[in-house]
């Protein structure tokens, strides 16, 4: 260990913020960046110079920090996912800032796909009697669908509610009811004021009745380090590394990143879908020889015998392989402006494997506020729709259910003609 390694002992936490401009989402992000000293002097100056201001007054408009593009500043809206960085002495944070408008479900799905945690913002002044807005339901439903591990409900603008505990409790019980309906196992909820910084970095004097840590402390303590390590091994082969040509001592290794599980030298692996087996002869983790690798590591594996392995194959332990097949049921979130056409073929990319797929049936569309299936699909899915489909792939996939193992249960569909990313898919 050297000094460089000791900076952020708790690694990286990726989070998504869901909410609209009105909920104070940009203000909250600006507050996190500012109070964690992530906002630098010249960015603040540029904001003071900015031509388009959303609010009048002398205070800093934190939301201007997070609106990147000129087009957006002119229209006063956010049109795309933006990524923000800040860190505390304990942890590095990556925020995916997704806009909250109805038509941008695809942006939230995009941001949520890589997130460990979701911050769901609720405007206390609009939910004081426990009436949750449709967008709160929608954001929570997507967080649930994408399997985000930690849900943090930030009840904002509590200053405008005179910090009434009753209002907070109303919202807490309403959210508890929503979480139960959606199947969200647990959530954190806290009262705050992003504008004034209450319960963001330091505990607020206004909420003696709230005894949990403020937002930043909570985000620092959410566990992520063991993500995927205790799951079965999945090592998708990205690249076959050959060196030395036909020489007898030529090097042949299989490179990829462990999607889940652990891997040790000497273990027997099964190549999926072919089923052949071999032992791990050597292991290189990020350029160094090692005896063991864990989920997330970029590795090169050498095997003790010649077996046929190519890009797209999956290495697993024989005792806990992925299922293999060509027929799957999946949830699709349609992202493209041209709707799903069951008569067409799409490219499917699952891990490093790219093959063709056809949608055999569209069973149901989901109501995005409740996740309930709605019968009747008109035989298609259009942009921002989420639906359950059956599909058939040309090549065999070695895959898991998304619920069990997201890293080996996710895929995308690509339009063969336009090359647009058409859908995000989760295997059932």
């Amino acid at each position: 260990m050297n000094a460089a390694n000791e900076f952020f002992p708790d690694g990286v936490l990726r989070l998504i913020t869901a909410g609209s401009v009105d909920d104070g989402k940009s203000t909250l992000i600006g507050r996190l960046l500012y109070d964690s000293k992530g906002i630098f002097a010249d960015q603040l100056e540029a904001i003071a110079r900015a031509r388009y201001k959303r609010v009048a007054g002398d205070g800093i408009d934190f939301s201007l920090l997070t609106d990147g593009l000129e087009a957006e500043r002119e229209q006063g809206i956010t049109i795309d996912v933006a990524y923000r960085y800040f860190s505390t002495p304990r942890r590095k944070f990556i925020i995916a800032d997704a806009p909250g408008h109805e038509q941008y479900t695809r942006n939230m799905v995009t941001g949520a796909s890589t997130a460990h945690a979701a911050i769901i913002l609720i405007d206390a002044t609009r939910a004081a009697f426990g009436q949750l807005l449709p967008q709160t339901k929608r954001h929570s439903a997507i967080a649930r669908l994408l399997g985000i591990r930690h849900i943090v409900v930030a009840v904002n603008k509590m200053d405008l509610m005179d910090w009434q505990r009753e209002a907070f409790e109303n919202i807490r019980s309403a959210y508890g009811e929503l979480a139960r309906r959606l199947g969200i196992a647990g959530f954190h909820i806290l009262p705050l004021s992003a504008l004034h910084g209450d319960n963001v970095v330091s505990a607020s004097a206004h909420t003696p009745w709230y005894t949990e840590p403020p937002l930043l402390g909570l985000l620092e303590s959410l566990p992520v380090a063991d993500d995927g390590r205790n799951a079965p091994l999945r090592l998708p082969v990205q690249w076959v590394l050959r060196h030395g040509g036909d020489r007898i001592d030529a090097f042949r290794g299989y490179a990829g990143r462990l999607a889940s599980g652990t891997l040790r030298v000497g273990e027997t692996l099964v190549v999926q879908p072919s089923g052949s087996e071999a032992k791990v002869a050597g292991l290189i983790v990020a350029g160094r020889e090692a005896g063991m690798a864990v989920a997330g590591d970029a590795v090169i594996v050498t095997l003790d015998r010649d077996v046929d392995v190519s890009r797209g194959d999956l290495l697993s332990h024989p005792a806990s392989p992925a299922r293999t097949g060509r027929h799957f049921e999946a949830e699709l979130c349609w992202l493209d402006s041209s709707p799903l056409d069951p008569a067409r073929r799409y490219l499917v990319k699952h891990g490093p494997r790219v093959t063709s797929a056809r949608i055999l049936a569209i069973h149901a569309r989901r109501d995005i506020h409740e996740l309930r299936e709605v019968p009747g699909t008109d035989g298609t899915l259009t942009m921002n729709d989420i639906g359950r489909v059956s599909l058939m792939t040309r090549e065999t996939l070695a895959a898991d259910r998304y619920e069990d193992l997201p890293a080996n249960g996710a895929f995308i569909l690509i339009d063969e003609a336009s090359h647009q990313t058409a859908a995000a898919g989760m295997l059932r």
Binding site: A41, K92, R257, V294
Partner: protein, 302 residues
């Protein structure tokens, strides 16, 4: 889990970047890695070693030389490529000027924007379908919305409203002939991360990244280096100060900061407490207009 399996934020960032480099190698027909000799591209070279050694790199290195580079950086660039035994392609803005595809109003104008033209010419000449670059999202506001695989149309243009959604770590690398991808494996790194990685990996950098005495003038809050391209103005006083560069772009628009930091550890100590972001302190061209990076990116800039 045993202590040996602890992974730091640098391990996480490194592993993500290696994964991205291998995706480019596997899915793109003719990729290239943009190597300028600057610190971010030095990091890309180390990541490439970790991704592909003992094999060779599955892409050549490409430098778009504005002709206004610091000598130390060019010498470093050539030495590093030779040491790695990898192929280095250099294409010069000077040649684009000679061909007439780049027209500058004044001979000493910044050639930073002109690089886009020469880059697009090189992409066409070699048929590159992917260019790997060391840009980071924390550098500038327009970069914050940049994808890791950033699609460019047949004119090399970036359309911020028509970017492909990027889900999980499943990258859509498909392009039609003539279109290309810009790929940013260290998108998620900050300046501090880069310096911590340089320290951990003991990466050599051009000497001007560390404190050295240099003649400068103070202009609009910046320290402007005195060079034949950037002479002092009549009213300005030339000072000799200990400075270092945080970025090493085109001489005509790159400024150093006052610093006594002589090694990576000292730079990290400064970076951790710094109050000025990298580009704001050192790049004259980005201050011109609030949206200037967004405009240049649309025009094909990296």
């Amino acid at each position: 889990m045993s202590v040996t399996c602890r992974r730091s934020h640098l391990d996480w960032l490194e592993s993500e970047a290696i994964f991205i480099l291998r995706e480019v190698a596997a899915e793109c027909a003719r990729p290239a890695l943009l190597f300028s000799g600057g610190k971010d591209s030095v990091v890309l070279l180390r990541l490439s070693e970790k991704a592909f050694r003992p094999g060779g790199f599955p892409y050549p290195l490409l430098h778009i030389d504005t002709g206004h580079n610091f000598d130390e950086v060019i010498a470093f660039r050539d030495a590093r490529a030779a040491e790695l035994g990898e192929r280095l392609i250099v294409r010069r803005v000077e040649d684009s000027i000679r061909r007439g595809s780049v027209v500058l109003r004044h001979e000493n104008d910044s050639r930073n924007a002109a690089q886009s033209v020469t880059l697009l010419e090189a992409i066409e000449e070699f048929g590159f379908d992917a260019c790997i670059g060391g840009a980071r999202r924390d550098e500038e506001k327009a970069r914050a919305k940049e994808r890791i695989f950033s699609f460019r149309d047949a004119f090399g243009q970036w359309d911020p409203k028509a970017q492909r959604p990027e889900l999980w770590d499943i990258y859509n690398t498909r392009v039609h002939p003539g279109e290309n991808m810009r790929v940013f494996p260290i998108s998620n790194w900050t300046e501090l991360d880069v310096w911590q990685y340089i320290l951990r990996e003991q990466l050599a950098l051009p000497s001007i990244y560390y404190s050295h005495p240099r003649e400068v003038v103070r202009r609009r809050g910046l320290l402007v280096p005195v060079t034949p391209l950037t002479p002092p103005r009549r009213s300005e006083t030339v000072e000799r100060l200990p400075v270092r560069f945080r970025t090493v772009g085109d001489i005509s628009c790159t400024c150093p900061v006052a610093s006594g930091a002589a090694d990576a550890a000292a730079v990290i100590a400064e970076t951790a407490v710094t109050e000025i972001t990298e580009r704001g302190a050192t790049r004259m061209d980005d201050q011109t207009s609030e949206a200037s990076m967004e405009r240049r990116k649309r025009e094909g800039y990296f």
